[in-house]
Each structure stands twice: as C-alpha cells, then as structure tokens.
C-alpha cells in the first residue's frame, strides 16, 4: 500500500480517528448521545426482555414450587398465611382430637366456599397417611356437610347432626357467647407461618410458580411461531417482489386472502383442524403471521428495487441473485426485525387466547391463558387468580413491543441530520 499523500487528498479529522480507537463498551455509552432520549427506552426493554427470557429458559430456578402440585389451601390470598382451623364440638361430647370424629360414620360441617374443607381434607389425608405408615388399618374420611351460614352449622353441631364443625377460631370466638354448649374441642390445623406470594388458585397450586412456568410456554410458542413465520414469509416476499409477474400475483392473492381473516378465528380453525398439542399451536400461529411478513417484505423489496443503488449494481454487471442477496435483502431486514418483535408479542397473546378457549394445550399445563380461563369465575372472590397471569401477558407483550420500537430507531436512524 503506497504511503504517498496524493495532492488534494483529505485529512481525516483527529476526532474521527479517535472515535475508532474507542472500545466497544465505551462506544455503547457514547452511542447514548446518538440515540438521544430513546436510549433509556432501548436499555429498559433490553433488560426486561433478557430477564424474561432467562426466566423462560430456567423456570425451575425461579419458581418456589412445582406448578402442578397442590401445595397449599385453595384460594389463598396473596401473602396471606393459611389460617388456623379448630374443631368445634359440643362440650359434652368430650372430643379431644380429629381422629375421634374423622371416621366414615362421622359427619363434619363447615361453611361452604371457605378453605375449611381444604384444611379438613388436608388434615384427614395426613393422619390417614401417618397411621397407615404406623401399621394401623384405618381410613379417616368423614362425610363433609356444607352449610350456607355459620349459624346453621353451629346449630347442627348442637343438635348432633354433625359431629364437629370446622372453623377459624376468631370467627367462633366472636359468636361463642351465643353457643355456650359448644367449645373449641381441638386444634385442627395450626396457622401457617408463610403464605404464598401471589396466592393459590382453586386447586391449591401456587400462582407464582405457575406464572413463572407459564413464561416458558409463552416464550417457546411465541418465538417458535415467529421464527417459522419469518422462515416462510420473508423468502416468499423477497422472491415475489423481485421477480414479479404471475408468480407475484398468485402469491399476493393467496397471502391477502389469508391476511384478511381475523387472526384469532383463523388460529382457532387451524388449531381445531390440527388437533391438540403444542406443536400444532405453533404451526397455527405461524401461519397467521406469514402473510404479514410477506406483505412487508414484498413492499420493501419493490421499493428498494427502484433505488438508484440497485440500478448502479446492475450497471456494474451484477447478476440478479447477487443483487437480491447483497443489495435488497440487507435493506429489507431492518423492517423484518421490527415486525419480528411485535410478532412475538402478538403470538404470545394469541397463544393465551387459544389456550383460554381450551384449544391446544393439555388442561393442567401451567400456561397464562389456561389460568385466565380457570380464574374467570373467581373474579370477585379471588381476584388474584386472573390478575397475575393477565399482568404477565401484558408485561411480556409490552417488553417485546418496546424492543420493536427501539429497534426501529436504531436500525433506521434519521440520516437527514448531518
């Protein structure tokens, strides 16, 4: 390489040379100025997404419990420790422990809808297990009797209709003076010391663990369907836009008709036809998005084809394939990347919708859509059943959308400013 400095050559300004010496990390910080106010947007969305993806890949590190196990009483409010329950029995029956009233000939009462039944079941299961392990051949399975009102239940206990009544001690204390013949016979189950951060659902599964594991499904389905859609839609769009002619017309017609279907309905139809299973869900959602990529890529291809630099490439003698790969493709990719992130967000929503409707995933999969479906009826009693899965869907969707927005700024900087 010659060292001569030809006449009229240009001095590279020092500040430009300095910038080249700067390392990559430093350049990211310097770039902060370049991105301007959008910088924090990029940073926040990137961090959030990274976190979500890690949670999705390694849910077991984050989830405190097995999402399918019944780890607690049902419908436990967030943070609330399981309540203490006592057995209330007539004073004269001299009941001292659960074992005395828990045989199959006994009836035990509680207020309908309260976690008392759960507590009772839990305790009877436990003592059955314990005693059977100790060699006794017993089975504790009292017949549950549900009462609408506390008073009814206590009356029934008085009359002997039920052998004992399960209730929280505070509730009984409040009305104990009205029932002097009843007393707290024994402790059924002590209060728990810790509750569940986000509560439990109606089966007693920990909600936090379920939504953490739900992230994995969302990420898998969301990303896979988006990737499939890209692999199918982008090449078709490129070729269709580049070649034109009858191929273009046929494909456009096909894609437009797919595109005009309302998304969720199309996904439902495909899922219904293909049957259950996570693979089929992925396919259904992917098909949904292929037309979007096709249209965008085709439009971009047509626009880029008109650009002067493509003509310049032709004038150099470049072959058609080279023009497509080196000139059109790199200029079309930025829009694909942006759509991709929005696509993932939408795919997660669609997947939640599909499983909400009961299509695709096996019923007890820890999935946000399934949880949303199950929790619908409990909105008033146990709001936490749908709030947290719903919030997760929103947050993850938001994170991917934010990423899409910030990518749009980075990949297509406004070149008009100097």
């Amino acid at each position: 390489m010659s060292d001569k400095n030809p006449e009229g050559s240009l001095e590279v300004p020092q500040w430009q040379l300095d910038l080249d010496q700067v390392g990559f990390v430093r350049r990211i910080f310097l770039a902060r100025r370049w991105y301007g106010g959008d910088w924090w947007f990029v940073a926040v969305s990137a961090v959030l997404l990274l976190f979500i993806i890690i949670v999705g890949i390694f849910p077991q590190w984050f989830a405190p419990h097995d999402p399918r196990a019944e780890v607690g009483p049902s419908l436990l409010a967030p943070g609330e420790p399981p309540a203490e329950y006592v057995l209330v029995a007539p004073v004269e029956s001299a009941v001292t422990g659960i074992r005395e009233v828990a045989t199959s000939s006994n009836r035990i009462g509680f207020v309908i809808g309260s976690p008392a039944s759960q507590a009772l079941r839990e305790v009877t299961d436990r003592i059955t297990e314990e005693d059977q392990a100790a060699g006794l051949d017993v089975r504790y399975q009292p017949r549950p009797v549900r009462f609408e009102l506390l008073e009814e239940g206590l009356e029934a206990t008085l009359t002997g209709d039920v052998s004992a009544f399960v209730v929280e001690p505070e509730i009984f204390e409040a009305v104990a003076s009205d029932y002097p013949e009843l007393e707290v016979a024994s402790l059924l189950r002590p209060a728990g010391d810790a509750g569940f951060v986000l509560g439990t659902n109606q089966i007693g599964q920990d909600i936090l663990s379920r939504i953490i594991w739900g992230t994995r499904i969302a990420i898998i389905v969301g990303l896979s369907s988006a990737v499939f859609a890209v692999l199918l839609g982008v090449p078709l769009g490129l070729i269709s836009g580049f070649i034109g002619g009858w191929l273009d017309r046929v494909l456009t017609l096909l894609m437009d008709s797919l595109y005009s279907f309302p998304g969720l309905i199309l996904a439902i139809s495909i899922a219904a036809v293909l049957g259950p299973g996570i693979g089929n869900i992925i396919v259904a959602i992917a098909v949904l998005y292929v037309p979007t990529y096709f249209r965008i890529v085709r439009g971009q291809t047509l626009a880029v084809k008109q650009e002067l630099y493509v003509e310049a490439a032709r004038s150099l003698g470049a072959k058609a394939w080279s023009v497509l790969w080196e000139y059109i493709f790199p200029n079309v990719i930025p829009s694909v990347v942006i759509i991709f992130s929005v696509n993932v967000a939408d795919a997660i929503l669609t997947e939640a919708g599909l499983s909400f409707l009961g299509l695709g995933l096996p019923p007890d999969t820890p999935d946000w859509g399934i949880d949303l479906a199950r929790g619908q009826d409990y909105l008033r009693r146990a709001w936490w059943l749908i709030t947290f899965p719903g919030a997760m869907v929103s947050v993850v969707t938001l994170a991917f959308s934010m990423l899409g927005e910030s990518l749009s700024e980075i990949l297509n900087p406004r070149l008009s400013e100097l």
């Binding site: 009229g8 240009l10 001095e11």
Partner: protein, 336 residues
C-alpha cells in the same frame, strides 16, 4: 437606525440540538438590508444560509434556539413578537420564495384561490371583486395569462410557479422578499427570465430582496450587495463590485477562482480549494476556515476573527485585516 435601512440583524445565533450533538448553525451574524436593495447571501452547504432565511421569518422548528436581534423598519425585535404580530409581518411585510414551489403551493387550491386567501388573511376588509381584480392585474404583470388563474399548481411549469410565489409576495405590498434557492431547480433560461422578473419587480415596486443561493454567478447577476457565508458566519460583506473585483477574504478569493466562468476565453486551471466545508457538530476552532486557508496564521486556529472594515462598506472577518488587533496582541495589551 437610519431611514434607508429596512431590516437590521445584529448578533444572530441559531443552534440546534440534534442526536449527533449540538450544532451551531449560525454563529453571530450581523448585517443590514436597505430599502429596495438586493442582498445576495451566498455560501455552500452547512454555511447556515437557509437557516438564516427561515430565522428571519421565525420559521425555524421549535428545537432551534435563536438569540439576537432582528429589527424591521426600526420596530421591535422580531424575535420577541407575539404570534399575531408575527403573522402580520409574515406575508404582509416580508414573504418567502422557496426552492421547490411545487411543495409550497397547495396542490388542491387553484392559483386565484391562493392569492385570494392571502388577501383575505391579511386584509379581510377587501371585497371579493376588488381582490380578484388585484389578482388578475398582478398575474398579468408577471407575464402569466389571466386564464391561468383557474389552474392548479401541477398544471403550471416550474417558472410559472415561481412567479406565482413572487406574486403572493407582491399582492400584499410586502417590502421584503426572501428567496431561498428559488432558482436552483429551474432550467437556465427559465432562471434567467426569473432574474429579469425580479429586477423588474424591484424597479417597479421598490422591493428589497434577500437572495439566498449557493450559485455565486447568480449573485453577480442580480445583487447589489453580497454577503459571503461560511460555516455559520459571514466571511465577507460588501457591494457586489467590491467583493468580486477585490475579494479580501481567502475563502471568497478561493471560491471565485474555483467557479467556472463561461465568458473566460482561456481555459485556466480552476483553483482546487483543499478540504471540505466543515461538519458543524465538530467545527474547527478559532476561524472556521483555517483548515482550508492558504494564508493561515497561528492566531487563526485559536480565536475567531472580529469583523473589520477593510474599506467603507466592505467588511471582512479575517485576521489578515485586523492589524491593530494583532499588534495589540503581540504587545500583550488586549486579551480579546
């Protein structure tokens, strides 16, 4: 301010905040425009001439910071005017012609509607027939047939559209027209005709004009006085004969020698000015022209030169002419 001065600009600064950093587009400019004179503002890209044109009518985006003083006919500083007074100024006192009249004319409005709207906004008491009559006379005086009044902008040629723009300035008896690269997109003959038109209009109506362009030949054809701008500052300001016959600033000298002249018989070598106009996010220190100046001195890199009157009416921004300042500096007297 004397009675002949129409517009006075003092110490104008305009800065933008872009994502590539702080850009000082105009860095302390001062000049006068006399009544009925044509001032040519010539410079290359990045010199700030377009910014200046827009700043005079306060048409810069809100992200721009403007400081300084612009006085019109001895009145209040334009930069401090209220919106409604500003609207009165724009259109009535001063009007602007842009490079591409296609985009500055409303494509869904006919020509007469444009003119009538201008009259209506600024002089609402004018009855419609009188306004139409004004429009008609005006169009004909500009050399366009009256039936073209009913045409849409896209049906007219580029030259005609530019003449409509002149007309919009004239119809309200503006005193000042700012033409920002008004002829850049026109063919040579059409451009020449437009220049003739502008001269006629000036003769007849006594309009003052600020002609902003990168084409120095244009300025030679049309202007009475010339301001040569470079990188946001005025390099040289004087009568057109002075500046062309005796250019004092090295930039002006270089520019004149590097521009092809169709009338010169010998094909002399054009002067190849080294370097390029600077990037205003990282302007050179001191005198912004110093990296390209063949007569650069040590002081040029350190301090921005002050405006010196090399001859009455001929100002230069160059250390070569600030002998007193240099002497004072050498003797250690004055700090700046």
């Amino acid at each position: 301010m004397d009675a002949h001065t129409l517009l006075q600009v003092r110490d104008l600064h305009v800065a933008y905040r872009t994502r590539l950093g702080h850009v000082s587009a105009i860095d302390g400019i001062s000049f006068d425009v006399k009544k009925g004179e044509i001032l040519g503002l010539v410079g290359e890209s990045g010199c700030g001439k377009s910014t200046l044109g827009k700043a005079l009518l306060r048409m810069l985006p809100t992200s721009a910071r403007i400081e300084g003083e612009i006085t019109y006919e001895g009145g209040t500083n334009l930069l401090e005017l209220e919106q409604h007074a500003l609207r009165d100024f724009r259109g009535r006192r001063a009007s602007m012609m842009f490079q591409d009249p296609m985009t500055s004319l409303n494509p869904v409005q006919r020509v007469d509607e444009h003119i009538l709207e201008a009259i209506e906004v600024h002089e609402p008491e004018t009855p419609k027939e009188a306004a139409l009559e004004r429009a008609r006379t005006l169009i004909e005086r500009l050399g366009i047939q009256a039936q073209r009044l009913r045409a849409y902008p896209h049906q007219l040629s580029g030259g005609m559209r530019q003449r409509i723009m002149i007309g919009l300035g004239l119809v309200l008896n503006a005193n000042l027209i700012i033409a920002d690269e008004a002829t850049t997109s026109l063919d040579v003959i059409v451009e020449a005709k437009l220049l003739d038109q502008l001269r006629e209009v000036r003769e007849e109506f006594g309009l003052a004009m600020i002609v902003i362009t990168h084409n120095i030949a244009l300025v030679a054809e049309l202007a009475d006085r010339v301001a040569v701008m470079y990188a946001g500052r005025i390099a040289e300001l004087g009568s057109v004969y002075e500046v062309f016959d005796h250019p004092r600033h090295p930039y002006t000298q270089g520019l004149l020698k590097s521009v092809p002249n169709i009338k010169l018989d010998e094909t002399e070598e054009l002067y190849k000015m080294p370097g390029e106009p600077p990037n205003l996010t990282h302007p050179p220190s001191g005198c912004r022209f110093h990296p390209r100046c063949p007569m650069v001195m040590p002081i040029c890199k350190e301090r921005e030169p002050t405006m010196v009157e090399a001859k009455p009416g001929h100002d230069v921004h160059c250390w070569l002419f600030a002998e007193d300042a240099l002497k004072d500096q050498a003797s250690g007297k004055v700090a700046s």
